[in-house]
Symmetry: C2
Subunit: 412 residues, 2 copies
């Protein structure tokens, strides 16, 4: 046996990130391994949301736009996030949704590479990125093509026809990781731009957009950044590209002088140019709580613990659940995985439903993937023990065969 519950409890006791768990609300009796779908609630979010509603909205009303800095939330929070993803002040915004931000950036990228007609993407990516690119190409109606490839053969597809490479660094199903720097270099060598989707990277592992010389990036804030359900997403535009092309969703927040109420559009020229309209202030404000906590944590420690948690999970599954039909869907080497571990199983959906009823929350991704998110700020080593114990129970006692679990319901 590679690990015992006791040895794992000892690792928790020595964990330099251990104290962060107390800063979250976590439901009793639940092992939550779905922070890569919706991050847990920082305790600070409760007070912050109350203050926002009762004082800023309730008492200060319209004056809060200046008094409480609502106007500056997208840029001020963007500057905070910049530190986590290797960007500089004035390169990041918190605004809109990941898909809408991708649309803006891909549109800019195509404008910056007018002679090229290919957007290179990963066919098995979380599909909203594909759908947004297809929506853009359809709307432009100028012969743009989405070229789909898979990770294994992505490099050879970066040809001189490619205008922009749009990839998600960490795969949502398997956790497979792209080498951001290497792929960015290949894209640039071929004369293409690159846009990284960091949905499963930001807050989960060290990201260095400047170091990789990335052009654009997007990502969501409700997974590893613990920003709250549907919290506004982020986007990144390297300084060298700002003001060089106009994004199409050019609402008044992107105008050079929004409060002049001019009839005609004039682009802001800096990162503000990527804004569109008024943002949901409650969701945007509360998002800062998770961000602030993340900024106090050491990202290398997060990554080290994330890799160790994954190794423990894989080791325990091999030791306790061999012969139950699970196959590792993630890379066996921690360096090649994001902050999750995934397994395939032909009865994956029913098993995940049974597990959830046992108090272990992961998620299922069609057709056969059981996905477990590892969130080092609140996931303990003993949680991995408990999760594998529950999986063993579900399999040994055939709990997954309960007819209640046969139906496929919606999971996100």
């Amino acid at each position: 046996m590679p690990y015992s519950r006791q040895s794992l409890a000892k690792r928790d006791a020595k964990d330099p990130l251990g104290a962060f768990r107390d800063e979250f609300i976590l439901p009793r009796g639940v092992i939550y391994l779905d922070g890569n779908s919706l991050g847990a609630m920082p305790k600070a979010a409760m007070a912050r949301s109350q203050e926002l509603v009762s004082q800023e909205w309730g008492q200060d009303l319209i004056t809060s736009w200046n008094r409480h800095g609502w106007f500056d939330l997208p840029t001020r929070l963007g500057d905070k996030l910049a530190d986590l993803i290797g960007a500089k002040n004035g390169e990041v915004l918190i605004t809109d949704s990941t898909g809408i931000n991708l649309y803006k950036l891909l549109s800019m990228a195509l404008d910056l590479r007018p002679g090229r007609k290919v957007i290179l993407m990963e066919g098995s990516n979380f599909p909203t990125d594909n759908y947004m690119a297809q929506g853009l190409a359809r709307q432009l109606d100028r012969g743009h093509e989405i070229r789909f490839a898979e990770r294994e053969n992505m490099a050879v597809q970066i040809t001189p026809e490619v205008a922009v490479v749009a990839l998600t660094q960490v795969h949502y199903k398997t956790g497979a990781m792209f080498d951001m720097e290497a792929i960015t270099q290949m894209a640039h060598k071929a004369g293409a731009l690159i846009c990284w989707d960091l949905c499963h990277s930001a807050g989960a592992l060290p990201v260095d957009l400047a170091g990789a010389n990335a052009d654009f990036a997007v990502g969501c804030s409700y997974k590893f950044l613990n920003g709250g359900p549907g919290a506004p997403a982020f986007l990144y535009v390297a300084k060298r590209h700002q003001g060089k092309a106009t994004q199409p969703l050019s609402g008044w927040w992107s105008h050079a002088d929004p409060f002049a109420f001019e009839r005609d559009y004039r682009p802001a020229g800096d990162i503000h140019q990527m804004l569109s309209g008024t943002q949901p202030i409650l969701s945007l404000t509360v998002m800062e709580c998770g961000l602030d906590m993340m900024l106090r944590a050491d990202m290398d420690a997060i990554r080290q613990k994330s890799m160790a948690l994954g190794d423990v999970f894989i080791g325990l599954m091999a030791a306790h659940c061999a012969g139950s039909g699970f196959a590792l869907a993630s890379h066996p080497s921690a360096q090649e995985r994001g902050s999750q571990v995934s397994f395939t199983h032909p009865h994956g959906y029913a098993i995940m439903q049974a597990l959830i009823d046992q108090g272990v929350i992961g998620d299922f991704r069609a057709p056969d993937i059981l996905r477990f998110g590892l969130t080092p700020l609140y996931t303990r080593y003993v949680d991995i023990w408990g999760a594998v114990e529950a999986i063993k129970t579900v399999m040994d006692q055939n709990l997954w065969q309960d007819p209640r679990y046969a139906r496929r319901a919606r999971v996100t």
Copy 2:
């Protein structure tokens, strides 16, 4: 003197909407006449936001997407709003921002009128609508033109080249109202489609999109609907147009089967097709509080009181502030005004700042407009008395000449 404070207090006592005021938080010592920029906070929003954060996010986490109906918020709340704007179930969504929704609809409209190249708009409209249309035309790059006209001569500009007429029903500065039914008829007679911006209409006056046979509409929920700062906006697509054209921001929420995670886009075919990505659940959830209150109020009573409040304001200004340099910028006839009263004054900015320091909150719109929003659910007749008294004080005592008020700051 047309009105006395006493007579106005009597009208408040008899006001059939009077009880709604107690359902709002309103700051003490303030007369809030800016509900057309940010509506006041329904008391219910406090408990609802706490429940959302502590229970739905904090305790139920990812399961809330199904358990607490997060998935259905855009359509469920849209169906509620439909009742207020003369739409049917399945025609309205609460999602994204007004500008982004307009972009989707205008793009669809141009697809539905492929031979026509003109978008007809009002040059003096709140400019984000113009900017979004200009962004769309620039991106399409197929010779589309934004034709700007003003209200007085809008009708003659609805020519056979026009693909879509995109107008805001109630003007943000003056409160001038379009006859929705008449203009819609003219548009259709010319073979054009129409998209109404209801930012200053929804919750302020009876709107009958079906009765007017409107094609599309957008609007925000943070003004007269009291949905909270930056709460998600709405959009309307008449059933007859649904699935007939594809909007460009086609994220996974607009897919025919979002949870099949198919590689390629397939449009939903119904109102879901107008969605894009994941919505800010805190802001979206809290938005329901204002909506529910509005649904309990009688819209005709709201309109009657709104018109009366405006008449009282205009009458009191004529009686108490004649000769101070104010000119009525709104229509003198209540039937022709939205739920606001506006005045021009060469020192408008400084006067509004001085007024705010007197506890009367309206807003200033460049170059010279003082704008006062009338929100019948919480604005009392005596508030109008108090506001005009404060204006008289500011003018009689030259308070507006204080050098602090000389600088033009940002106001929304």
